[in-house]
């Protein structure tokens, strides 16, 4: 039985309501049938009473005169052919004389003249005993013996005050049945008609309610495996408890998504910060002995007694140390520099500086920089950000592709500088996006993987935000930098 309750609402609601509808129809139908049967029986008794009185009065003289044939013609008169039968059609008429024997009957072969009631069967014996010992003053006597397929109605035949005998009418209950079965069929037909109308409505209504519930249950069941999806907006556009539940679910899904995005961002920031600290620490540790080494090599090179071979090795060591210094310098991003405000000239310089690369890769450059003559942003750092991002974009763009720059105030903020660089190169992979701003993360052959790391370090140290994402057929980098002390609102960046 438990499986029934474990069924999906998609089936349970329609099944349950269908069952209730059918059950109601059945119960009401059965009650009406029972009533119809009782009514029919009452109609039979009323009709039998009328017929019985008429026959009793008519047959009385034949009893007085012992005129069997006239009596036979009288009791035969209400008998119809089988085909003409109705529920109120009398099945047999029997006249009992004063001697309690059959005086005449409508069916002499089955109920012969002069028979004792006992010889006619248990029904007649019971009837005779009831007639001989009447309980109370009931006339007519209506008798429905148990285990009998007949109903009997008996009434006395009298002439003046003389008791002449009894008239008994017998009704076959089997004649009720076809009529009653007709009634049942009619009731059943009507019930089925109601069902054919109600059941589809019920199924539609049930599935209308169940489908969103089932959908919701599935989504909530999957919640641990992957971020839940919001429900389709037209799934259940009503304001009842179910509708409220779905709305609450949608709100929860949005909150969960924001939370997940925030967590990802926090994790990435923390990782980058940790890497930054680590690299800075390593750089400082390297820088101190490195400075000594470089000084020592310089000093050695100044000596005149060095043979050319040793001098060549010293030059080798010197170039290696210089490379180490450059690399460490690149890792150790230094932003505490002289802060000159950004001017239009800086942008022109950047434009000029990247032209060789643009020309080399035959990339089209869309330049859109809208700014006042001066902006309170550190010019050298912004220049470095621009150069890094633009060169990166030129490298990433397809051969003969397009790179675009948009620079200006963020639309809703007077205190936020926005830099947007796009290229039409290949899209960034999931893994690339996750580690984009880490050092040595370059996937491009020939790149040292420090350009974006440096950019990230600069932006972060300026309290700005940098992000990258895939657009339809472009890759976009967005940098927001605060102009002044107020931080940039980057929620919608």
């Amino acid at each position: 039985m438990r499986w029934l309750f474990n069924l999906s609402f998609r089936h349970k609601i329609p099944l349950w309501t269908s069952f209730l509808i059918s059950f109601s129809i059945l119960v009401v139908g059965a009650a009406l049938m029972a009533k119809a049967y009782e009514d029919m029986k009452r109609a039979v008794v009323i009709s039998a009473d009328n017929l019985g009185h008429t026959l009793a009065n008519t047959v009385a003289p034949t009893l007085l005169h012992d005129d069997v044939w006239r009596a036979f013609e009288i009791v035969r008169s209400p008998i119809r052919a089988e085909s003409a039968r109705t529920p109120v059609q009398v099945d047999a008429v029997v006249v009992f004389g004063r001697d309690h024997r059959v005086f005449v009957s409508s069916h002499p072969e089955a109920l012969p003249m002069l028979s004792e009631p006992a010889s006619l069967g248990p029904d007649w014996l019971l009837l005779a005993s009831r007639l001989a010992n009447p309980i109370g003053n009931t006339s007519p006597l209506v008798l429905e013996p148990e285990n009998s397929s007949y109903l009997y109605l008996a009434l006395p035949i009298t002439d003046k005050d003389a008791h002449l005998g009894h008239l008994v009418l017998r009704y076959a209950k089997s004649v009720f049945h076809p009529w009653f079965i007709d009634t049942i069929w009619q009731g059943l037909g009507l019930g089925l008609l109601v069902l054919t109308v109600l059941i589809p409505i019920n199924w539609y209504w049930g599935s209308r309610m169940a489908t969103p519930l089932v959908d919701l249950a599935q989504r909530m069941g999957m919640m641990m495996e992957r971020p839940p999806e919001p429900l389709p907006p037209d799934l259940y556009p009503y304001q009842d408890e179910l509708g409220q539940l779905f709305q609450a679910y949608d709100r929860m899904v949005l909150a969960l998504r924001d939370k997940a995005a925030l967590e990802t961002e926090v994790v990435r920031s923390e990782r980058l910060a940790a890497i930054g600290q680590l690299t800075a620490g390593i750089a400082h540790e390297i820088n101190n002995p490195l400075a000594g080494l470089i000084t020592a090599v310089d000093t050695l090179k100044l000596r005149r007694d060095l043979d050319p071979k040793a001098l060549r090795h010293l030059d080798l060591i010197d170039r290696g140390l210089m490379q180490i210094r450059d690399t460490v310098a690149a890792l150790l991003v230094q932003t505490r520099v002289q802060a000159r405000p950004l001017s239009q000239h800086d942008l022109d310089d950047v434009h000029t500086l990247i032209q060789p690369q643009v020309a080399k890769r035959r990339v089209r450059l869309d330049w859109s920089a809208a700014m006042p003559p001066e902006l309170p942003a550190p010019a050298s750092l912004v220049r470095q950000i621009l150069i890094n991002l633009l060169l990166n974009a030129v490298q990433a763009a397809a051969e003969g592709g397009t790179v675009s720059l948009w620079l200006g105030r963020k639309e809703d903020s007077e205190t936020c500088l926005s830099i947007i660089v796009r290229n039409d190169g290949s899209q960034l992979g999931e893994d690339q996006l996750a580690h984009l701003f880490e050092p040595f993360a370059s996937s491009r052959p020939g790149g040292h993987g420090l350009g974006l790391w440096v950019t990230y370090q600069i932006v972060t140290q300026l309290d700005g935000r940098i992000s990258a994402r895939n657009l339809d057929d472009q890759v976009e980098f967005v940098v927001n930098l605060p102009l002044g002390d107020a931080p940039c609102n980057t929620a919608s960046a």
Binding site: W69, P108, E109
Partner: protein, 295 residues
């Protein structure tokens, strides 16, 4: 039921009929008043034949009225007794009665014509039972059962079976457990066919005619035994009918088979025609009546 009818001067009249024949009787008749006031001929029809074939009766009456050029009325009664009473009261000029009433009334009526059935002025009494009644081969087997008689004034439906019982050396009054009258031969067949009575006595002419008219009813009965032949139920005239009327009616009946219309009517009555007949035809009946002390 069967009250003894005694008429004044019965002996003299019987002698007259027997000695002088029809002519003498007719001459006496001439002295009597004749016909109903409006000249209408009234004919009593009895259950001696299937008198409930109303369409046939209507045609026969019209045929008769056309032939006689007089209005004719058929007076139907359900028992012989009523027709006999009407004859006695001179409410009828003619009647088709059973042979037994004829003998009862022979001082009041004259034999006019006897129908020919299967070419003869004879018929019989059939003892019938339900077709499913086994082991009944004669009247003796029906002792103690319920028996249906046709009419207390019927020969074949009452006198003949009682005579047969008497021939068995038994008393007809106690031989059966119960008897009743159906007041017509046809209904005797119905009583036996329905099982109301175990046996019944019926006119052979009626039983055989019914076999054509209503075969489903007759098929439910079976003839156990056939009596000797008796004179067929005759047409009689009241003795008060004038000789001319008597002769006109008699010659009309005898001439029925001479016309197409008449033959067609006779065919439907399952009769062949009419003959003058003679009272001696009914000697067998008279003998049975004497056995019961009735004549």
């Amino acid at each position: 039921m069967n009250s003894q009818i005694t008429l004044p001067n019965s002996n003299r009249r019987r002698w007259l009929i027997h000695s002088s024949g029809l002519t003498a009787a007719a001459l006496i008749g001439l002295t009597r008043k004749s016909l109903a006031a409006d000249g209408k001929i009234r004919i009593g029809m009895t259950p001696a034949f299937l008198h409930d074939q109303h369409g046939l009766l209507g045609e026969w009456r019209d045929f008769m009225a056309t032939s006689l050029r007089r209005p004719v009325e058929f007076v139907q009664r359900d028992s012989y007794r009523e027709t006999m009473d009407l004859l006695r009261l001179e409410k009828l000029e003619f009647a088709w009665v059973c042979d037994y009433p004829y003998l009862h009334l022979k001082d009041t009526v004259r034999l006019m014509a006897v129908p020919l059935y299967q070419g003869k002025p004879h018929y019989r009494s059939y003892l019938i039972v339900h077709k499913d009644t086994a082991n009944v081969t004669s009247m003796a087997n029906l002792e103690g059962s319920v028996f249906a008689y046709a009419d207390p004034y019927s020969n074949t439906g009452y006198l003949a079976p009682r005579y047969e019982i008497r021939q068995l050396g038994r008393d007809p009054a106690s031989f059966f457990r119960k008897t009743f009258f159906t007041w017509s031969h046809r209904k005797v067949v119905e009583a036996v066919a329905s099982g109301l009575a175990r046996g019944g006595a019926v006119d052979s002419y009626i039983w055989e005619t019914l076999a054509h008219v209503e075969p489903s009813l007759v098929k439910r009965t079976r003839v156990v035994s056939r009596s000797p032949e008796y004179g067929f139920p005759p047409f009689v005239s009241h003795r008060s009918v004038s000789r001319a009327d008597f002769q006109q009616m008699q010659s009309h009946l005898l001439g029925t088979s001479g016309s197409d219309k008449g033959r067609s009517l006779l065919a439907r009555l399952y009769l062949d025609g009419f003959t003058t007949g003679s009272p001696s035809l009914y000697d067998g009946v008279a003998q049975m009546m004497r056995a019961f002390g009735e004549a």
